[in-house]
């Protein structure tokens, strides 16, 4: 056994040595004194709360890694460029980062940007582990991976969970939103597979305030599936109370934040699937929540946790592969990190759960189902 490990390490070291020898000549990373992790995300504009959360989470991870002495004495550096959730800005930011010596990345925060980022990263064979871009297109390339669930995954999970626990199932979704339809379509397909009938109502961007018609139609259901965001879910919950409907309301990670939208008048049970539970008693998660709250003055959300995990996965993989060349080229580092992550037995225990990866780039992890107020 120990022989095998030694052999593996030797092989890795040789691999590193081989690639290191060719990187010295390659331009941008040759002057690096720290490992450089890049990222783009919306730091201003409508979606800025996502980008800022990822930035905070990732920065906290870097701080912890460096406080621990970095990797073989070499510290890490993290830089996030503002892309305002726009693909063209993400592309431009990629070039800036790459020329500044970026060696590895956590891609982009939002799906549209990440698609553009991944296209650029493919050309340079630069590894990316997006914290939060959930569209499947973002991880279509072999060098692209993600931490979060994909949109369809949540629909399938929800269908399994609801069929197991409830009789009479209803669903409401937002026809005009990709996140909502993505989850809903996977949910409906899975329900058809399971051969379970359910009632569906929908709404669109023009009519997303008054839910009395939808709730009226689904009033007799035991559970209503709500694959959309927390503002609308809060309104659905209040309408359900007014209509005397006591169905369980079940949502996806978009419901993270619904606690601020409902008050004690809402008596329906609200549950949602999420990879990250801020109130978790688990030691690792509690430590992260405490450190984050101390540093930034507010509790972390799911994006902050995803950002933290994305950086930590890269660090763990590099540590396992024992990377020891600070000027390593992106291309070489990508192959090392990829083979480490895809190797049997690589499991990352993060604050958003324990995860493994396969060739598709999607993370396999167990979702947590949170009940509000519990």
């Amino acid at each position: 056994m120990s022989k095998k490990i030694i052999a593996l390490v030797m092989a890795m070291l040789m691999l590193v040595a081989v690639f290191a020898s060719c990187t010295n000549s390659s331009g941008y990373t040759s002057k690096n004194t720290e490992y450089f992790i890049g990222c783009t995300g919306p730091l201003t504009g409508d979606a800025s709360s996502y980008g800022i959360s990822v930035q905070n989470g990732a920065a906290l991870a870097i701080e912890e890694i460096n406080a621990d002495g970095g990797l073989n004495g070499v510290k890490f550096k993290f830089d996030i460029k503002d892309d305002q959730a726009a693909a063209d800005k993400a592309s431009a930011a990629y070039d800036q980062l790459f020329e500044a010596g970026m060696q590895i990345s956590i891609g982009s925060v939002t799906s549209g940007s990440c698609e553009a980022f991944a296209a650029k990263a493919k050309a340079d064979n630069l590894f990316l582990m997006t914290p939060s871009a959930s569209a499947d297109i973002c991880i279509a390339e072999p060098n692209a991976f993600r931490v979060c669930f994909g949109d369809p995954d949540q629909g399938i999970l929800a269908a399994d969970e609801l069929v197991e626990n409830f009789e009479n199932i209803g669903a409401i979704y937002d026809k005009s939103d990709t996140y909502s339809t993505g989850i809903y379509e996977a949910f409906a397909a899975r329900m058809a597979e399971l051969n379970v009938e359910f009632k569906t109502e929908s709404f669109d961007a023009e009519n997303k305030k008054d839910f009395s018609t939808q709730v009226e139609a689904l009033k007799d259901c035991d559970v209503i599936f709500l694959p959309f965001y927390y503002t609308e879910a809060g309104l659905v919950a209040k309408t359900a109370v007014a209509k005397g409907c006591d169905a369980v309301l079940f949502g996806c990670d978009g419901l993270d934040g619904v606690a601020d939208q409902v008050d004690e008048t809402v008596t329906n049970t609200i549950k949602y699937i999420t990879p990250f539970d801020v109130n978790s008693k688990e030691e690792k998660v509690a430590a992260f929540v405490n450190a984050y709250t101390e540093k930034y003055g507010s509790a972390p959300d799911q994006f902050a946790a995803d950002g933290y995990d994305a950086v930590m996965v890269i660090y763990e993989a590099m540590k396992k592969a024992n990377v020891n060349d600070v000027t390593i080229a992106p291309d070489a580092l990508c192959d090392i990190v990829k083979s480490t992550i895809l190797a049997d037995g690589f499991v990352y225990e993060g604050v958003t759960g324990s995860m493994t990866w396969d060739e598709s780039g999607a993370a396999t992890k167990t979702p947590i189902i949170i009940e509000l107020g519990k």
Binding site: K175, S202, F203, D204, E206, N207, K209, D210, S212, T213, E216, A217, K219, T231, G234, L235, K238, T239, A242, K243, G244, D260, Q261, V262, D263, E264, T265
Partner: protein, 288 residues
């Protein structure tokens, strides 16, 4: 049946807003596009008062008073200097006021939708709620009808009401008969804005979230309702509002739900094609 009650209650909100449009049009001969945003201000007034942990009754009074004053201030600052200017200039000013109010709300409260607060709710009536009839819908419907009846009586039976009618019939003649036109127009704005505050209150009863764009869509729909009913006609605004509310709810409950907005506005086109002055509008002959 439940769809009908939901529709009637939404319709009475539209009717209240439409009354504001139609009264101002009838008397000042201008389209006050900032009217929808007065509703939004009313809604925020309720939210802020409640967050100071005052009772909902105080919140309603604050909201009505604030909106009434706001309507009078808008009239005085924005529209009075333009009296006699071309209707287009006044219309553009009204749109400007509308954007100003929306922008101001975004600066103060932020762009996101905020819940009003837990003290803002009506007691449950289990016997009705069980069948899907919400207390809010019932209260809105009943109060809406009361407000409309009171308004009609006010215009028919009081001196100010007659003066308002006179100004809308013929402004020049009314001035000659000793009616203070400026004062009447200010009163009209005050009443219209108070109605908007009530509309905002009923809106919050059904959808308990306040946001800066809250007044935009109900405002446009109510304007459509006023035109359908015949702009300038008070019973017309009520009929138009209730009609649109019922149509909207039935549409949402049918397979056509994605086309609700299209159906609402197509109704306007159809009615105007058949009756160009609206359902209850007066036919005024153009003199050649």
């Amino acid at each position: 049946m439940i769809t009908l009650i939901d529709g009637l209650s939404l319709g009475s909100i539209y009717a209240l807003i439409a009354l504001g449009y139609t009264m101002v049009y009838g008397i000042a001969k201008m389209l006050n596009f900032a009217h929808g945003d007065v509703i939004m201000v009313g809604a925020y007034a309720i939210m802020v008062t409640l967050s100071c942990s005052l009772s909902p009754v105080v919140a309603i009074i604050v909201s009505v008073v604030l909106c009434t004053l706001l309507g009078m201030i808008i009239e005085k600052l924005a529209y009075r200097p333009l009296r006699g200017a071309s209707p287009l200039a006044v219309l553009i000013t009204a749109i400007g006021v509308s954007y100003f109010l929306q922008g101001l709300a975004q600066i103060i409260f932020g762009a996101e939708s905020k819940p009003v607060g837990s003290s803002w709710k009506l007691p449950a009536i289990p016997a009705l709620n069980k069948h899907g009839i919400t207390t809010a819908a019932l209260v809105t419907l009943i109060c809406g009808i009361i407000i409309m009846v009171v308004l009609t009586l006010f215009i028919k039976c009081t001196k100010t009401g007659s003066a308002m009618l006179a100004v809308s019939e013929d402004r020049g003649a009314a001035t000659l008969m000793g009616v203070n036109v400026n004062k009447i127009i200010t009163i009209t704005f005050a009443i219209g804005s108070a109605l908007a505050a009530f509309a905002g209150m009923f809106y919050l009863l059904q959808i308990p979230n306040a946001e800066p764009m809250l007044g935009a869509m109900p405002g446009i729909t109510a304007f459509t309702a006023a035109v359908i009913g015949g702009i300038g006609s008070i019973p017309g605004a009520m009929v138009g509002g209730i009609l649109l509310g019922v149509v909207e709810k039935f549409c949402l409950a049918s397979p056509l739900s994605s086309y609700t907005v299209a159906v609402k506005f197509s109704l306007l086109i159809i009615i105007l094609l058949v009756k160009p002055t609206g359902l209850l509008g007066k036919v005024s002959r153009e003199k050649v």
